[in-house]
Structures are given as structure tokens and as C-alpha cells.
């Protein structure tokens, strides 16, 4: 008997990208997962996508719905039916909302992986305002600030559809080359980088791109806005700005010019620890070698100054005219099915705002709860929150001050979790649901590259009784708010595509729906696209250097630098006790946040987390390369392995984020041994727009682990 063999075209969901995949199935088992050469990502994948098969056939996966037996965290579970699991969750949430009000229930998710539409729609459909997402320190600040400044979103034009590629790239606190593809794909970026003249790296440490950079600005963590303002100071003083764009298409140039006078290069050099001449050189390079793009990541968003960090970067783009011209930052025309979160937002938002978002207009607009406030209220015993359903997230690992997050969340009356694997948070749940892997699901992947959605086509049936995110939310939604949900997943997917006038079956065959090449256009502000007679979709019709929206919110309409809550300058007393600046954002190409540590091909690449420190620092502390060391802040201490590393300032160390050890025993699975958030603070003041919390710029001390 010969083997039966078939190939399925699908889309990788291992991160925020949208990479085309071909999966080969032999005798019902996936034998090969590789890039699809005929996709927009031309056959390339990253290690995470290429290892997909080790998720599907991983013996640690959750296979059946279970309910807790005995104490929380006791590790005893009883297998139950989906019917019982969903009925229990639905009736608990309903009862809680009836007895204690809609704010007593929260729905959470981890980083979006093309299931955001379901979590958000579900939250809205059941009538709670508590959408608990990590977005307020990751990507939402970018969306919010780009929205009020430019009136849309901005993406790097790496595609050459306007017959021009970026001449100068700035990689700003971001490793687009290997990690989190917010709005972009590394494949596109790297192809464009090959054609560029300059790469400016703005990062506290030498990232993987450092060897390719013409210029490295080794800024102090937490000083992004100051650096951007300093660069603008040079650009304005030397009259290097794009005169025509600034004159015709920006609002508030005079006010911005006044503001940047407060940031002369000498002062900015003192704030940022970047030598004066490098700031000048970077400013000239970016202003003169055009077009250019800036990629900045969550490192400037996990900050008490998240909004202004982005505003400063956006003003830098506007001054240099790097908006909407070919090879610069462009607001793509969406594919025909329209932005998929609009599908989730079809359901009106509840009247009440989410817990803790009362003072944060950005959170209210995006319909989110402020997680840190909720945790603090739970710890104090003053919270309204009683029940939490969370999918694809381990909040102990991903929110600030892990130990307090655990203390707070364990006070909830009810927790349900949906995931591929048991994790340190799920261990304390009342019900745990098994989720299907992307190779086992039919779905529509709409991540941040706005011009395309991809078809996630089921390659094999799910292991055990795992269900797709889509099915879980549809079945759960039907039990609470049937008017907003569908007969089955296929009908739901059809509904998501209705604007494009196609069905799921058609889309599944097509593989993707995209607007590329001649279907995109540039300089849309010179046409009627956003406004009759031209302009941007902002209050003034121009790019708002001076933000009318910020003014209306009672906030500073111009960008400014704000010291992190903990820093050598804001808390000099603390700096004496904790004499190193701590950057916590380190990401690896083989992991995506807390994911993949159960996958041997990926774990083998790096089994333990590294803390990078300069050789001088290591020598002073008596620390050798490869040794486990303690890193301590006022919140607690963790261990990581010392990597003696020249590519960092001797006054700064960098640790890796999101670690836990699935091989360690439960319930905590090594959660508190190495995780960066054991060290981070969830204390206010938060960012005034979005409630973002400072995770990436803290103070710490480091010492050897004594045997």
C-alpha cells in the first residue's frame, strides 16, 4: 500500500506575521511544514513557523477540557465534556454579571495571534467593558498616536510598489529582523535593507543588525523621546526639514520648533547618553538621505511616556516628509474585507468603561480594562472583578510585578483558561480548555499588515478534543449572547468576509486577499482619498505636529521627554542602592513571548535566558560568562545566565523577557525563577493616555549566585 500524500496551502500564525506555508501530509500525519514560494513571503519562514509540527505532535498538549479537583493549583484535574465546560463558563459569567454587574467579568488574551477579533467580539457581545489585553504596552500606543497625529496607521514601504525603496532605515528599539512583526514581516524588511544606503540602529544594545548598521545610537533605556526631539532640533536648526511637506501638510510647526528649542543636542546627549556628534550625524543622515523609514517597537511603549515617545517619532517622520511618499512610511489601503477588528466592533461598546480605564482616554477608545489597576484593586480587596476568562496568555509572565499579579488574580472567584499547554496561570484555573494549533484550524489571519489577510487552512484534525479559537468563542458566545454569534465557524468566517463579497470557501482557495502593487497608492493626502480636496483624516486635515486631540484631552499637544519612574535622574537615592539601569525587553528569534519553550528544536537554540552585561561591569562584579547571577529590584530577584557582551553600555544590563520552565514542576513551572516581570513595577504614574507602565527602563543590582 502506498502512502497517501497531499499538500495544504496555509498561513503561519506563530507570531504577528502572515507568512505563507505549504504543509505536507502523509498518511494523515504532517511530515513537512515549509514556506510557500508563491506567497507574499516567497517561501521564507522563521524558526518558530518551521517548527510548527513539534507543536502539533507535542505530548505536553492539552487534549481535553478539564475542571479543577481539590485546591487551586493542586494539579488535580477531571476530564469533562465540552458541553459541561462551556455551560459552566457561560453560566458563571452570566450569573456574575447579573449579580455584580458587567464589570465583574473580564475577558483576556495574550498578544494577538489572529484571534483578537473573537476575544474582542466576545467581550462586547456579553456586555462587559473589561477587555484585558496587553496591548496598552504593545502596539496600541502606536495605533493611538499614529491615529491622532496622521489619522491612520503607518507602515514601512519595503515593497517598491512606488518604484522606490527606503534609503535610510532606523531600527528603533526593535528587532524586526527576528521578532514581533507588528505591521511588517522581516522578509520584506530584510529585502528592503539590501537596497538601502543607511541603517541607523537606535538601541541600548547591539542587536543582530548591529554589524550592518552605519551608525549605532546606544541610547539609555527610557530616553527615546529626548533623542527624537534632539534630532528634530538639529533638523530644524540646520533647515534640513522637508519645507514643502511641512508648509503644506503639517499643523503646528512653529509650536514644535519652540518645543525642540528646549532640547539642544548637548542636553539631549546628557539625557540619552548618546554622544553629541552621533545625534547630529543621525539627524542629518535621516533628513538628507531620503526616503526613510522608522521601525519602533514596544520598547518605547512599555513606558510611562509611551504616547509622547511615539508622538516624537511621528513628528520626526513628518518633518522629514517621510509620510506617504514611496519608500517611506505609508498608510496602506486595506484589503477588500476591511479591517477585521471592525467586525468585532460591529457590536456597540457598553456604556460603562473598563476597570481602571476611567482616567485613560486611550484605553476607553480601544475598550480596554487597565490591568495593573485591576490587579492592585484585587490585592486590596476593593475590586469589582470576580471572574476572568483568558485565552492564549499567561498573565503572571506578561504583566508587571508578577508576584502581585498572582496574588491579585488568585482572589478571583472564577478563572477559565484556553491554551495549547498547561501554564503557570492555567494551573490555578477552575476550567482549562484545549486549543487547536494553527495547523489544525480554519481561520482568517488578519494581523497588522493592513493590506493583506491570509487563509489559515486546516491541515490535519486537531489532536485530542482541541478546538479552534474561533469555535470556542462561537460556542461560548452562543450560550450568552446568541444574537451575535453564528450557526457554525464556517458561517462566522463567511460573515467576516462579507465586505469583500466572498465566502470562506472561496477565500480558503485564494489563500490570501491583498492589495499590492498598483492597487496601492502613495501621496493619498493629495487626493480626495481621506478628504475632499486633499488632506489627512485629522482635525486640522494635516499631520498634527501640534496635536489638537491631545489638547482636547487636556494633555500636552507637543512631545516631551519624561524620565522613567525609576532612573539615575528621577530617583538618585534608589540609584545608589540599585546602581545599574535595567532593560528588560530582550527577545529571541526562536521564542514568541512565553511560547515555544516546550518545543525541542526551538529550546535547543537557547535553553536558558541570558543577561547581557559589559565586560567592565562583569569584572567589577566578579561575574564570569556563563554563570547564573541574581538580578534584583525592589520588587524581587531572579536568576539569568551572564553573557559578557561588549555591545552594551557598562551602566546598563539587558535581560530576556517572558521566561518560564515548562519542565519544572507545577503549579509554578519555574515561573518566578527567571521572569523579567518579577522585577518590573506596576506602580503609577502610568502613561497619561494609555496607562502604559514602565517595564523597559528600571534600576537593579546584580550579584553572583553563591553555591
Amino acid at each position: 500500500m502506498g502512502t497517501t500524500r497531499r499538500t495544504v496551502r496555509t498561513t503561519c500564525k506563530s507570531c504577528h506575521g502572515i507568512c505563507g506555508v505549504l504543509a505536507t501530509v502523509e498518511d494523515g500525519r504532517i511530515t513537512r511544514v515549509e514556506g510557500d514560494p508563491n506567497s507574499l513571503t516567497r517561501g521564507a519562514l522563521c524558526s518558530k513557523g518551521a517548527a510548527g509540527v513539534q507543536h502539533v505532535y507535542n505530548p505536553n498538549r492539552l487534549l481535553y477540557p478539564v475542571k479543577r479537583k481539590g485546591e487551586r493549583g493542586g494539579g488535580e484535574w477531571e476530564r469533562i465534556s465540552w458541553e459541561e465546560a462551556l455551560d459552566t463558563i457561560a453560566s458563571t459569567l452570566k450569573r456574575s454579571m447579573k449579580d455584580f454587574g458587567p464589570r465583574s467579568v473580564a475577558v483576556g488574551q495574550g498578544t494577538g495571534r489572529g484571534y483578537n477579533e473573537y476575544t474582542l467580539r466576545f467581550t462586547r457581545s456579553i456586555g462587559t467593558p473589561n477587555f484585558a489585553s496587553i496591548g496598552y504596552i504593545c502596539y496600541i500606543p502606536k495605533l493611538a498616536m499614529t491615529g491622532i497625529t496622521v489619522g491612520g496607521r503607518l507602515y514601512g514601504d519595503y515593497h517598491g510598489w512606488g518604484r522606490e525603496y527606503p534609503k535610510t532605515h532606523i531600527s528603533w528599539g526593535k528587532q524586526l529582523e527576528v521578532s514581533n512583526a507588528d505591521g511588517e514581516i522581516s522578509t520584506w524588511f530584510l529585502d528592503a535593507l539590501d537596497k538601502a544606503k543607511n541603517l541607523i540602529l537606535v538601541d541600548p544594545r547591539a542587536t543582530r543588525l548591529a554589524g550592518r548598521a552605519n551608525l549605532w545610537l546606544r541610547l539609555r533605556p527610557g530616553s527615546a523621546a529626548a533623542l527624537a526631539l534632539g534630532m528634530m532640533n538639529v533638523i530644524i536648526n540646520e533647515e534640513l526639514y522637508d519645507e514643502e511637506f511641512v508648509r503644506d501638510w503639517t499643523y503646528g510647526f512653529d509650536q514644535l520648533r519652540e518645543r525642540v528649542r528646549e532640547y539642544p543636542v548637548e542636553k539631549v546627549s546628557e539625557i540619552t547618553w548618546v554622544p553629541r556628534e552621533k545625534i547630529v550625524q543621525a539627524a542629518r543622515m535621516f533628513a538628507m538621505d531620503k526616503p526613510g523609514c522608522i521601525q519602533c517597537g514596544p520598547s518605547i511603549e512599555a513606558s510611562n511616556n509611551a504616547a509622547q515617545n511615539h508622538r516624537a517619532v511621528l513628528c520626526l517622520l513628518a518633518l522629514t516628509g517621510n509620510i506617504e511618499r514611496p519608500g517611506s512610511m505609508v498608510n496602506w489601503i486595506p484589503h477588500d474585507a476591511g479591517p477585521q477588528e471592525e467586525w468585532a466592533r460591529e457590536i456597540p461598546a457598553p456604556r460603562e468603561v473598563g476597570i481602571g480605564s476611567e482616567n485613560y482616554v486611550g484605553l476607553q477608545i480601544f475598550g480596554m480594562m487597565h490591568f495593573d489597576t485591576a490587579v492592585k484593586q484585587l490585592v486590596e480587596g476593593t475590586s469589582e472583578l470576580k471572574a476572568l476568562h483568558i485565552e492564549g496568555s499567561n498573565p503572571f509572565a506578561c504583566y508587571a510585578n508578577s508576584k502581585q499579579v498572582k496574588e491579585g488574580l488568585l482572589k478571583l472567584d472564577f478563572i477559565s483558561v484556553a491554551d495549547l499547554y498547561m501554564n503557570p496561570f492555567a494551573e490555578y484555573a477552575d476550567i482549562v480548555l484545549p486549543v487547536a494549533h494553527w495547523l489544525e484550524t480554519d481561520d482568517i489571519l488578519d494581523m497588522h499588515p493592513r493590506f493583506v489577510i491570509g487563509a489559515v487552512n486546516k491541515v490535519v484534525e486537531p489532536q485530542g478534543e482541541a478546538w479552534s479559537d474561533a469555535k470556542i468563542y462561537n460556542e461560548l458566545g452562543k450560550r450568552i449572547a446568541p444574537e451575535y454569534w453564528f450557526d457554525d465557524v464556517e458561517k462566522m468566517l463567511d460573515d467576516r468576509l462579507k465586505k469583500a463579497g466572498i465566502t470562506w470557501k472561496q477565500f480558503s482557495e485564494m489563500g490570501c486577499l491583498a492589495k499590492t502593487g498598483k492597487e496601492q497608492s502613495y501621496y493619498k493626502f493629495k487626493t480626495d482619498y481621506w478628504r475632499k480636496g486633499g488632506g489627512f483624516p485629522t482635525p486640522s486635515g494635516k499631520v498634527e505636529l501640534y496635536s489638537n486631540v491631545m489638547k482636547e484631552w487636556g494633555l500636552d499637544p507637543l512631545p516631551y521627554h519624561l524620565e522613567p519612574n525609576e532612573s539615575p535622574y528621577s530617583t538618585p537615592g534608589l540609584y545608589e542602592q540599585y546602581p545599574l539601569v535595567l532593560s528588560t525587553g530582550g527577545r529571541l528569534p526562536n521564542f514568541f513571548h512565553t511560547q515555544n519553550r516546550q518545543v525541542p528544536w526551538l529550546r535547543k537554540i537557547q535553553p536558558y535566558p541570558f543577561v547581557q552585561m559589559h565586560p567592565e561591569t562583569a569584572e567589577k562584579l566578579g561575574i564570569k560568562d556563563g554563570e547564573w547571577v541574581w538580578i534584583e529590584t525592589p520588587r524581587g530577584r531572579i536568576q539569568q545566565v551572564a553573557e559578557v557582551f561588549e555591545g552594551i553600555d557598562p551602566r546598563v544590563i539587558n535581560i530576556e523577557a517572558a521566561w518560564w520552565y515548562p519542565e519544572d514542576s507545577g503549579p509554578d513551572h519555574g515561573m518566578f525563577k527567571s521572569n523579567a516581570n518579577v522585577l518590573t513595577s506596576n506602580d503609577p504614574p502610568y502613561d497619561p493616555v494609555l496607562g502604559s507602565v514602565s517595564l523597559r527602563a528600571l534600576l537593579c543590582r546584580v550579584y553572583k549566585v553563591e553555591a
Binding site: E34, C46, L190, D194, P600, G647
Partner: protein, 184 residues
């Protein structure tokens, strides 16, 4: 025999993402395989391995690059000469250096003599990059490592093509320096 293919790594482009390492294991079905419970330090062969050199500061400049290394399929391969069981041989069709599992005794002498540390050992036998000959037979154009590479840093082909690639790049570089002012 066709012209033998050689792997070429463009170290100006590689960003050390390890996708080639994983794609190679996936293509060849190599371990480490998932276990329950998982292990922190799973063991397994790496037919292609990635090394990070640097970062070192040289004045103001960062010196750093990444280099994936696999079997170079040497024309006069020292491993073939060293193998006491004649288990390593050249494929008549492609010139690739291959291992006959049935003859290999896992003595590791090939590892002693290989200038690249290429031989790997798995389940008692030596394993080596086979230039994805099975993929070629299926009609696929690229090896697994070359196909997966986001940075387009890997190329597997005849030495003449590699020479032309490097030559073209040099020509472009020289051109951009010498003729930079012409078109502005």
C-alpha cells in the same frame, strides 16, 4: 557527474535567526523530538549550526556577524580518507559527500579531521548535510535551509554561480562608490 553544488553564506546578510537550523531538522526528521515532560537541554544533531561572532567594539564600529556552517562537501574530503570502514563516499550523480549508515560504526574519527566540525552523531551513526538530495529529486529548487532563509543569506549551487553572485555584489559596491554622484 553534474557540477557539484556548494553552500555559500553571505555573512553581510545573515542575521542569525536559526530558521535554517530548524528547517534542516524538520526536513530530515531529526531530533530532539518532543517529550513529556519537556527537557531544558534537548540533545540532537545539527547538520547546520549558526555561530555569532562578536559583537566586539572596534573603536566606534561594531564588529559582528553570524555564520551558519554545514558540511562543505569538500572535493578531496578528509573524512572520506579517514573513515576506517569506507562509510563516507561521494555521490556519483551530484558529488555530495554522503554516509552509508550500514557501514558507519560511529567512531567519530571523521569529526577529528573535518576542518568545519561538520559530522554529527545521532542514534549511533554519523549524520551529515546531504544537500537535500531528496528535495532535488522531488523537483524542488532549493535546499531546506536556502528556501527558509528570510535574509536570502544562503545559496546552494555550483561554484561558478557563487562566483558570479559575489562578483556582481562587488561590481555593485564599486559602482555605488565610484558612480555615486552621476545620477543625483
Amino acid at each position: 557527474m553534474k557540477t557539484q553544488r556548494t553552500i555559500f553564506i553571505d555573512t553581510d546578510k545573515c542575521i542569525g535567526c536559526y530558521a535554517c537550523v530548524v528547517a534542516c531538522k524538520a526536513e530530515h526528521g531529526l531530533g530532539p523530538h518532543p517529550t513529556n515532560p519537556p527537557v531544558a537541554t534537548p540533545e540532537g544533531p545539527e547538520l547546520i549550526r549558526v555561530y555569532r561572532i562578536g559583537p566586539q567594539m572596534r573603536g566606534d564600529e561594531v564588529y559582528q556577524y553570524f555564520l551558519p556552517i554545514a558540511c562543505m562537501h569538500c572535493l578531496d574530503a578528509p573524512c572520506i580518507a579517514a573513515c576506517p570502514r569506507s562509510a563516507i563516499y561521494k555521490d556519483g550523480e551530484t558529488g555530495a559527500t554522503l554516509v552509508d549508515d550500514s557501514r558507519c560504526i560511529g567512531c567519530k574519527f571523521c569529526l577529528w579531521v573535518c576542518p568545519y566540525g561538520a559530522p554529527q552523531f545521532y542514534e549511533g551513526k554519523m549524520k551529515l548535510c546531504d544537500q537535500c538530495l531528496d528535495r532535488l529529486k522531488e523537483g524542488k529548487k532549493y535546499t531546506a535551509c536556502e528556501a527558509v532563509c528570510q535574509a536570502r543569506a544562503i545559496y546552494v549551487g555550483p561554484p561558478g554561480d557563487i562566483s558570479n553572485r559575489i562578483g556582481r555584489k562587488a561590481a555593485e559596491r564599486i559602482g555605488s562608490e565610484k558612480h555615486a554622484g552621476n545620477k543625483q
